[in-house]
Amino acid sequence: MLQLTRWKIALVVISTLLSVVFSLPNVLPASTLAKLPPAFAQRLNLGLDLQGGSYLLLEVDTAALQRETLNNLIEDVRRELQSEQIAFTDLAQANGAVTVRITDPAQAPAAYTALNGLAQPLAGAATGRDLLVSRADQVVTLRPAPEATQAAAGRAVDQSIEIIRRRIDELGTREPSIVRQGTNRVVVQAPGESDPERLKRVIGQTAKLTFQMVDDTVPADQLAAGRVPPQSELLPQPDNPAEPQVLVQRRIVVSGDMLVSANASFDQFGKPVVAFRFNSQGGRRFGDTTSQNVGRRFAIVLDGKVISAPVIQTAITGGSGQISGNFTTETANDLALLLRAGALPAPLRVEEQRTVGAELGADAVKAGQLSTLVGSIAIVAFMIATYGFLFGGISIIALVVNGLMIVAAMSITQATLTLPGIAGLILTLAVAIDANVLIYERMREEAKAGRSIVASMNAGFSRAMLTIIDANVTALAAAAIMFIFGAGPVRGFAWTLSIGVFTSVFTAVMVSQVILAWWLRAARPKKLPIV
């Protein structure tokens, strides 16, 4: 076992040199790094808990999406039947389907044919249609096909990711990571964002903007009695205590998807507003509506809440305008950003959020460094006290190489180093020592049993080897499970632990072996120095 074969020396020397090369970027100044080829300039990838930042797990509310699909379907059915001049009642949605009752039984087949025309072929499938239309006597039922619903949900998640990306890019967050998780979840990781609440506000808001006419036909006393006409709805106006609720017509005059630009600006009184510009279609519609309704009020509605409900002074035909409300410069900026990036296809819910301030992250790095340093010093002192400068020293060289290899491996793979990961590193160093201890103790035993120094050293390595492997496989199994099931910081811990298992076995067995074999050949000792 203790032969100094050429491949062993080569393996140890080359892997040690590579470790030095690849861990070096972590101590080089950034200016030097910029000159190096990128493959040799990778530093440790610090987790959000170490560099500060936000982790958000968002869920796309597909149920809301479905409700909206059905609402649109109701409007389609109404339009279709009206254009065919078919009288109907009880148009409503229930149990994921839309039902309508045709008043005249004679017209029912015609209504069925007309409504059947609403169904479209399924995208990406040879057969099948997105709507299942059925008729029982006078009642026609329209049910969205499950495949279509699923495809719509999938599209909504994809679109959400795209829109989140646009919004975050506009915020100027560096290197955000936005990935899909499962079927309807999105994970956003943004390092270094100083204000996580703002990030959450900007990401989580649906930002569905509509312009709707205020319904002023209902007197206030009737409204108070809860009499809301079917074509109108009562929406809250949170920023106006004088008028907490506004009755608006359901019909949407213009919506946010017809905007071509939106910017934060100031009105003539110096108050922050959002200035916008419609595309030609939106501009025309807005112009027509405003010219017909001078003196009446329209409501600017964002995500079901009225921002403001101004009176139309003159026809606005230029296709541009401004939204005033109770804005600060920041909220005006955010709204403009949201309008530019577009509305989310479905509401997003924040299911999980983890935010660490950059300062706390820096403190954690310091704490991690300090405890690693103190832990290492303790290990070094203990090993030298137990095994002397020679054998203790050799195990420490192995330990240092081990540390370098872990840092290099983590840097190359760009695995994330988290705070628990640092704990894993310290534990790895302590357990790495175990391999050396097993070998040395075995050597001691063999020497005491009366074997020659070479024989006992050989036996030490070969006998301890099996125990070392057995013992480390269990650690590796535990780490693998943590990696599969763990989230975030725990994964980082598992990864560090796994890398550590491999490097510590390699260094304890190979590195110490080569050094010891070399010493054996050079010094030709008569007696094992640790006995």
Binding site: E59, E197, R201, V350, E351, E352, Q353, R354, G357, E359, L360, A364, A367, G368, S371, V374, G375, S376, A378, I379, F382, I384, A385, T386, F389, L419, P420, I422, A423, I426, L427, L429, A430, I433, D434, L438, E441, R444, E445, K448, S462, R463, T467, A471, T474, A477, A478, A479, I481, M482, F485, G486, G488, P489, V490, F493, A494, L497, P529, I530
Partner: protein, 317 residues
């Protein structure tokens, strides 16, 4: 040459097996106590990872956080279960609360931040904010339990594969002993039971097995070497032979973990307590729980011996 520190005489000769009945009773009592503590009284202190809710950490640089005032202000918000406590030194505090299901978590957090900023001064800094929704917390809990179960199962498969059945029984007993006692510690100290704790317990499982394997490996080796020796003597011999290793590795790891406990900050404190405790318990159990259990199989020794050893799981060089 420097005189090496010898913690132990060159050859120890403790009679571990003699203590096995005593240690067995102690272990059994501890296991029962831990189960009671973890399941019933006082129970595990579930963190927001598994319970859902919000944790905010804040600091007021240069002065102590007025905890009383913060508590009072939080109480007025009507959030139900609210905890305000010092975190690390006096200038930092941790606030935890459950968001009522009817309210939007993001709004509640914003509201809490505004309130605390008003009460504690404009210079208050929010250093950490964790929000876990009820759906995710349920999933995290499930996957946490699954990870623990799977880890234990995988260890058993490995032991079964590498050793004989009787070793498996000893290893299982030791493993459950260590895991249950660690749960007991978490319950008794009311350390937060979180994802990180699960990682800690998984590491304890790994280390406990590591230690058991070292002892068992030696027993297996000696079984071949000393065919006439009784199982009790054999276990004593094997544990004594590996004891010097235990007494070097154990303290080394514990020293490193204590460094972590002292300097690692509040976040890693609980984690390092769990690891340290698990390390000690793991070492104890391989000597006093796992190994003595092998005696139960002693009567098979001799008769089934030739057969059992005819195919040792590993060929020794």
């Amino acid at each position: 040459m420097w005189p090496l520190i010898k913690l132990l005489p060159a050859k120890t000769n403790f009679k571990y097996v003699k203590f096995a009945p005593v240690s067995g009773v102690i272990s059994l009592l501890l296991v029962i106590g831990s189960l009671v503590a973890a399941i019933w009284m006082p129970g595990l202190n579930f963190g927001i990872d598994f319970r859902g809710g919000t944790v905010l950490e804040l600091s007021t640089p240069g002065r102590a956080v007025d905890l009383g005032r913060a508590r009072e202000a939080m109480g007025r918000l009507g959030l139900g279960d609210v905890q305000v406590q010092a975190f690390g030194d006096a200038t930092a505090a941790q606030v935890r609360f459950q968001t009522p299901p009817s309210r939007e978590p993001a709004e509640v957090v914003a509201n809490v931040r505004d309130t605390l900023t008003r009460e504690l001064g404009q210079d208050v800094r929010f250093t950490r904010a964790d929000v876990v929704g009820p759906k995710v917390s349920g999933e995290l809990f499930q996957s946490g339990l699954m990870a623990l179960g799977l880890a234990i199962a995988l260890m058993l498969v490995y032991i079964w594969f590498r050793f004989e059945f009787r070793f498996g029984v000893g290893a299982v007993a030791g493993l459950f002993h260590d895991v249950i006692l660690t749960f007991g510690l978490i319950a008794v100290t009311q350390l937060e039971f979180s994802l990180t704790s699960i990682a800690g317990i998984l590491t304890v499982i790994g280390y406990s097995m590591n230690d058991t394997v070292v002892v068992f490996d030696r027993i297996r080796e000696n079984l071949v070497k000393y065919k006439k020796m009784s199982m009790g003597e054999l276990i004593d011999l094997s544990v004594n032979e590996t004891f010097s290793r235990t007494m070097i590795t154990g303290p080394t790891a514990i020293m490193a973990l204590i460094a972590l406990m002292i300097f690692g900050g509040e976040t890693l404190f609980g984690f390092s307590v769990i690891l340290t405790f698990g390390l000690i318990v793991g070492t104890y159990s391989s000597i006093f729980v796992g190994a003595p259990l092998l005696i139960l199989f002693e009567k098979h020794r001799g008769k089934g011996q030739a057969e059992a050893e005819a195919k040792p799981a590993v060929e020794r060089p």
